[in-house]
Every structure is written in C-alpha cells, then in structure tokens.
Symmetry: C2
Subunit: 351 residues, 2 copies
C-alpha cells in the first residue's frame, strides 16, 4: 500500500537501483532480458517515479501557480478552465490562490509560490496591486516566467509580459452597435479612475462618441464602486431622473447591467424600446436575466490557454517573452437588451 521505489524493485531482482532506473528508461546499454524482468516487477508493483524526487533532481516542479481576486466570477473561472486544459495537455498542474482583492495577499502568495518552486506564476491582479508596484517589482524573479493577466502594470526597471482582452476594441464595437441601432444618448456606468481597466473602457466610450459626433454628457458618466446589482439599480434610477435622460446605458460589468435592468423595470422603463443596456464580459448572467443582456465578450478560455502556451514557450524553448503584451479579440454579443427589432433567438456564443 505504501509507494514502491526503485529500491524495492532492485531488491526484488537482486540488482541495483541504477540498473532498474536505466531499464525503465529503455537505455540501450541494458540487456533485453533485464529490461523485461525489471518492467515486469515494476508493473507488478505498479511503480511510479516519485514526482517530488524528480522535482528536486531536475529543479523543475511541473507546477504553475495562479493568483486571482475571486473565484466566483465567471470570467475568472473561464480563464482558469483554459489554463487547466492547456496545462494538462503539457503535463503541468495548477496551484491556486485567491487574493480577495487584497494587494498584500497577492504579494504574499507570489512569495509563497516562489518558495514552492513553481515553474511559472500567473496573476490576475487586483486594481490595488499597482499601489505596491515597487514591492512587486522587487519580488519578481527573472528566472521564472511571470505573466500578468487582464491588466497592464508598468515597472521602472523590469518588463513583464501581459495578456488581456481588447477592451478598447470591444467597447468601440459595442458603442457603435448602440449607435447603429439608433440610440443617441449613451450613458456609461464606469469603474474607478485608478483602474486602468476602467479607464480604457471609458476612453473607448468617449472616443467613439466624439468620432461619431454624439452627445457626450458628463451627467451620463457615473462612477461605480460596489459593482453589485443594488448599485446598478440605484444608478439607473438616478440616470432616469435626469432632465436630459440617456437612451442607452453602457455598464462596466454584467452584474451592474443586471442591476440597471432591474432599476429600469422599477422605473417603468422598457428595455430595449426606451433604453438599451449593454454589459461587459458576457458572463453567464447575460443569458439568464430578463431581457437577455447584450454584452461584450471577453475570451476567457482563450486567454487562459494562450497564457499557458506563452509561458511554455519560455520554459521549453527559452523564448524571451518579457516584452510580449498580448491582446485578445473581443466581440459584441447582441441579445435582447439592445435590439429594438426583436431577435428570433438568443445568441449563445461563448468560448
């Protein structure tokens, strides 16, 4: 019941562990008869090499550490699933840690992963990780690939690779979709100004409105900070109580958008006839709310897979990836909440 080692097999065959090891590796110098005997016994004992010993020997753990803010976000689970698929294919296992948006925990987990000899570290940083940028920069080692997902952090000395979805492009496409559908007064519930993520989406929104000579009303741009349904609900009601009401609301997240839908319903406003609502992320919520929510799809699974491939290109082929800043294509998924002409079916694209 306890694990069998080379020593056990050697003892059983009255030979040495070196011979056993070589036989199992099919080294040419070992005689066929010995190979057969060794393999038979190994099979009988269902021998498996001890991964820890191999780790120590080769200074390689076949483990990848990943840190994320919150597991219960659909987008995070999509990214992780992508990672698991690609890592699995290549014989790697994933070690996980949840930071709960706490930048100090993030630093702590990075340290821990290094101590655990992971072969690479992936992080979906919280917004606040930038606040401890210097500490982070000091922590990051050059000999182990480190990849930042979904955000970009600029360091003074180091260049660290990143991968993210094309939020600027996606937002642009989304706003254009609203314009194309005849919406003229587009509001935006945005994230905090210290968030590069929120800023990119806001800039895209602003640029697209300007380019199309649309009204850009400061009253229509409101900061979120809770990012929950209740906040979306309250802000929707606030927008609707304006003298000059918007006729479309672009939301920083699907959860906020769902809150907006609920707020509009309470205010007796029809979606999409009176007001359109556009979410961000294309989470699983978008298909279950009513009306179904148009949203900008972020390719979570693809990002996860690509992350691992990028890391492995460094680990296996020594490719220098430190200057890679990969941007993955987004896509507007049109559902009921922005379609004045009723849709026949729901679009269920999701990859």
């Amino acid at each position: 019941m306890t694990k069998t080692t080379l020593k056990d097999i050697a003892k059983a065959l009255n030979t040495t562990i070196a011979t056993v090891s070589r036989a199992l590796h099919d080294k040419p110098e070992i005689s066929d008869s010995m190979k057969n005997r060794v393999k038979e016994v190994a099979n009988l004992y269902s021998y498996k090499p001890n991964a820890t010993a191999l780790s120590l020997k080769f200074q390689k753990s076949y483990r990848i550490g990943v840190i994320f803010p919150k597991l219960s976000h659909y987008y995070v689970t999509q990214i992780l699933s992508g990672m698991l698929i690609e890592a699995g294919k290549n014989g790697y296992k994933m070690l996980i840690a949840e930071s709960n948006y706490n930048q100090f925990k993030e630093l702590e987990y990075i340290k821990e992963f290094y101590e655990l000899n992971v072969d690479a570290i992936l992080i979906l940083p919280s917004r606040k990780l930038s606040l401890v940028k210097d500490k982070l920069e000091n922590l990051i080692r050059d000999d182990i690939p480190f990849l930042i997902i979904d955000r970009i952090i600029k360091f003074d000395q180091k260049t660290v690779p990143s991968i993210a979805s094309d939020d600027y492009g996606g937002t642009t496409e989304g706003i254009k979709h609203l314009i194309d559908n005849g919406y003229k007064k587009i509001a935006h519930l945005r994230g905090e100004e210290s968030s590069t993520l929120a800023n990119v989406r806001y800039y895209a929104y602003r640029d697209c409105l300007l380019k199309n000579n649309m009204e850009l009303n400061p009253d229509w741009v409101i900061l979120c900070n809770k990012f929950n349904k209740a906040e979306g609900e309250a802000l929707a009601i606030r927008l609707m109580s304006l003298e000059n009401r918007p006729d479309a609301i672009f939301c920083i997240s699907d959860v906020v958008a769902v809150g907006v839908l609920s707020g509009l319903k309470k205010a007796g406003i029809r979606v999409p006839e009176d007001v359109a609502v556009l979410g961000f992320s294309n989470s699983d919520l978008a298909e279950v709310c009513y009306p179904t929510l148009s949203s900008i799809h972020q390719p979570g699974v693809a990002i996860g897979k690509k992350s691992i491939r990028l890391l492995l290109s460094n680990i296996n082929m020594k490719k220098n990836i430190s200057r890679e800043n990969i941007v993955m294509k987004t896509k507007v998924i049109v559902r009921e909440s922005t379609s004045r002409i009723a849709l026949s079916g729901t679009n269920s694209f999701r990859t």
Copy 2:
C-alpha cells in the same frame, strides 16, 4: 537571483550546512553568536528553505488535490473558496483538476495526484464515477485521506468519508414552503435516475407531498438531462400544456429554474401569481433573474472549510475519519418566485 541554499550560507560563514540548519531552527546546542551570524546572512540572502527538499525529506507535500466536474458552476467555486481559506490558514496549497464530468478523467486525476504526493485528495464526483466504482475502490489508498464531496459512493470493501449538503432536509423545507404559500399542485423537474443526488431530492419531494396529502401526479415529474436554460424553458411549456396543470415547479437546479421562468413568461403565465418556481443551490443566478428566484441554499463555503478541517484532523491528529459522513444544513431562501404576497426586499443570504 537564484535561490540561496544552506550551502551558500555555510560557505559565506565558513561553517557547515548542519550548523546553519540548526542555527536557523534555534536549536539549543548552537551558540548565540553563531545563531546571530547565521541569521544575519540568511536574512541578507533572504534564505527560504526549499519546499521540494522538505517534501522529499518528510514525505509530506503540504499540497491537497481537488477534482471537480466544472469550475464555472457557482456552487463549485463556493466550495473551492471555502477550501482555499481553510487550507491557507494551515499552510496548505491546493492543486486543482477539472474532470468535465468524465469518469475516466476523474480516475486519471486521482492517480496523478497520488503520484504528485499530495497529502489528501478531495473529489466532487460526476454522476458517472459510480460506473467505475470498482476501479475507483482499487485506486484509493488507505494512507492518504480521500474525501468525497456532495455525493455518496458505497464501496464493497472500503469505507470512504463524505460530506454533503442536506438535500433531503432542504427539499422538504422547500416543498413545505410551497405548500404553506398555498400552492397545491407541485411539479418537479428532476435529474437522472442513476444519480443519487437527483434521487434524494425526488424522494424528499415525494415524501413531503405524501405526508401532506398532496396530489402526486406522475405527469408532473419530468427528467432533465441537459440541465440548461433551454431545457427548463421547453419543459415548462410542456407542463403548462397539460390538461391538469401544476401551480408550482420545483427544479433540480437554478439554471433549469431560470429556463422555467423564461418558458412561463413565453406562455403568458405569471410568476408567482399563477405558478411558483423553486430552484436548487441558491447560485448567483437566483438574484439576477426576473422575478428573483427562491432557491434552496447549499452551504458551499462551509462545506469547503469543513472538508479541509476533516482532512487535517486525520493528517495532524491521526483521527480515523473513514466513517464520517457529514451532512451540512441547507436553507430555503425565499425570493419573489414563490411569494404571492410581494416581498419588500430581496433576501441576500449567502455564505
């Protein structure tokens, strides 16, 4: 930049690794002056013991492997979060694997985790894992704790501990809630008959109806096999086309329930006035759909925490846990979909 080892420190101080090791461990035999010198250098080099070497030495990895069918299910993320919290507190890291409901992958991952010398294995099995029960039983080792979550599998020889939510109790409470609210004809969209999980919920439904002298109509019990929104939608419409229509629908999952809501809407039926809808799991969907969905809360986070505590009681205190079959309390969360008298606010219980 490369990791410093005991050897590096020993060399720097012109002593041996044995002394350095002892000094760092504050062994009484080491002189204070030596201790101080060692610690200073260790600090300077920011020495951290190599976890892999310790693993090999102590045959203990401080790693726990967990296998689940699909990460993107809210309930799974809750369980994992609970595990991460409790594991983190005790210095353990989690290795994860996604089986995609494939029983062969589940067996494969169990094998891999053993080879990786995890200190324990946790599994949220797919329904089909029971089909390869014999192989599973052969695979499970007695020297490493193995815990089955959310299902119960009976083996011929072994007894394996389990932890699950009290689905029978939760369902009973849920059906009683429907009865108390004046619903008289309660339908059930259930899971497949080969699933113990689905059966427990069905038995509770049936027993509760019988005990309360309610109509138990075979036409009102329908098997799901896709468990998605479309299926819920179709089955709702089918139920509503019956001569003898139910006035409440208890669903095997929240996703199915959301589909039912949508189907009822299409059929022009009001919820909860005409028909009540009750989900299962209390996922994040329940609060965002319209109307908001009453659902039976499964304490995912608590289950995750408890799992780890149970394992650690075996690992650290050698407690025999093989006969533990823990059942965690469920709770009906009442929202709009079952409340004929309108609720003032939404109930946001979730832990």
